[in-house]
Symmetry: none
Subunit: 225 residues, 2 copies
DNA sequence: GGCGTAGCTGAAGATCGGCTGAAGACCTGA
DNA sequence: TCAGGTCTTCAGCCGATCTTCAGCTACGCC
């Protein structure tokens, strides 16, 4: 569970980072609207925790822009106090949930978990990892804005890795997901396709999004390599 | 499956104890909030069955405090009647599920089983020990923010130690966990890998997270060394 | 302080796992 | 049926990693 906290109040941001990390979330922090928006667009977060009152660009607009860019990350809005921005308004901009300050940390965690569950079950259409974009719905992949033509197998492998961006995924699992394979299927098949994939999305750009996890399988770098 | 029933109504508590025991659960009972909380924190239960109306400390607060203490035990709330505490409220405090009285025993057992399954499968993905982070899902380890490249064996050893952070773990146990070893396997193998591990995650940082427990094995310092 | 045992570590050879080019099978559309 | 593209299998290669060994160090007990 990767969470981006966008909160300008340093003390609160730090407290959230520590608390959520302790709860098992992977937490990054941004302190203003523009940098929060940039981070959210460049990395594969599950949820963005967004304060409304932010320097540069308020949470409201960060939210709209994120949605406008096609992101379907979970967004939980933190309003400074009840009624200032009403629920409907927050949800209208594309937020998934909202919470009024002051809030209980336990409630926050419960809502985050609930949100993550909901998000997890709604299949992501697009995964953005730095300048690498994997669009599951359109079945296209772009690197640095350029469309990269992939064969069906190559795309399927990439898509599966993208859905678990940042995690190590075993060849066995890829085999099961992409091929309706028996237990006799050959992991080398995966290796061959990964090799082809790298030749298309990494090598020409001097990047390394597809990382080998020796003894396990592969990992798609959350930042695009 | 260990279950703690926290219920002040003696007759119901007894009935639950008998019924659940017959269903194969190991059941303990507490009759008020404070003793329930204490028991839950001191023993490794899979699920806590928590009545809302309790003397001393209501179920609500027992639940919050359990979560605040970092426990991730399964919590099933029993509400005295529909609507008194609504679902959202119960789940907000960190409960995993809830059931309104009067409830069917069969439903209770089904919910308990479902909950236990969910809990069991939510494996800890990340262990944070000071500035040392072991991410089992990504199979990465970072010290002071920097990613430390580890070989598969090294990571497996570290991962196993991290899962029992603060505890002394015998070489025998590591051998069994990391190697699919017979009784003839050589503990020196573990020593060699631990040595390599220290050279990567401790020595360069002047730390000592991996501690030798003479005559026993090793311990990963809970504070990262 | 001395001794014995437990643990540490550098080196080296063996092994393993992963990468890749090539060849042939296969599938699809014309 | 044929052509083009795609997929799988195979085999060789290469580097990373593992294990074993042997000598060394450190600890704890007497």
């Amino acid at each position: 569970m990767r969470v981006l906290v966008v909160e300008d109040e340093r003390r609160l941001a730090l407290a959230l980072q520590h608390g959520l990390t302790a709860e098992g979330f992977r937490v990054d922090v941004a302190h203003d609207g523009p940098s929060g928006l940039a981070r959210a667009m460049d990395h594969a977060y599950d949820v963005v925790l967004l304060d409304i009152m932010l320097p540069g660009l308020n949470g409201y607009r960060v939210c709209s822009r994120l949605r406008a860019s096609g992101s379907d990350v979970g967004i939980l809005i933190l309003t400074a106090k009840d009624g200032e921005w009403d629920e409907a308004e927050a949800l209208d901009t594309g937020a998934d949930d909202y919470l009024s300050k002051p809030f209980s940390f336990v409630v926050l965690v419960a809502r985050l978990r609930a949100l993550a569950r909901r998000i997890g079950s709604r299949a992501p259409r697009r995964t953005v990892l730095g300048d690498l974009v994997v669009d599951s719905a359109a079945r296209t992949c772009t690197r640095a804005g350029a469309t990269v033509p992939l064969t069906p197998r190559e795309f399927a492998v990439l898509d599966h890795l993208a859905r678990r961006a940042g995690e190590a995924v075993s060849k066995r699992e890829i085999l099961d997901a992409v091929w309706d394979s028996g237990p006799d299927s050959d992991p080398n098949t995966v290796e061959v396709h990964v090799s082809a994939l790298r030749r298309k999305i990494d090598t020409p750009y001097g990047r390394s999004a597809v990382q080998t996890v020796r003894g396990t399988g592969y990992r798609l770098a959350a930042d695009g390599g």
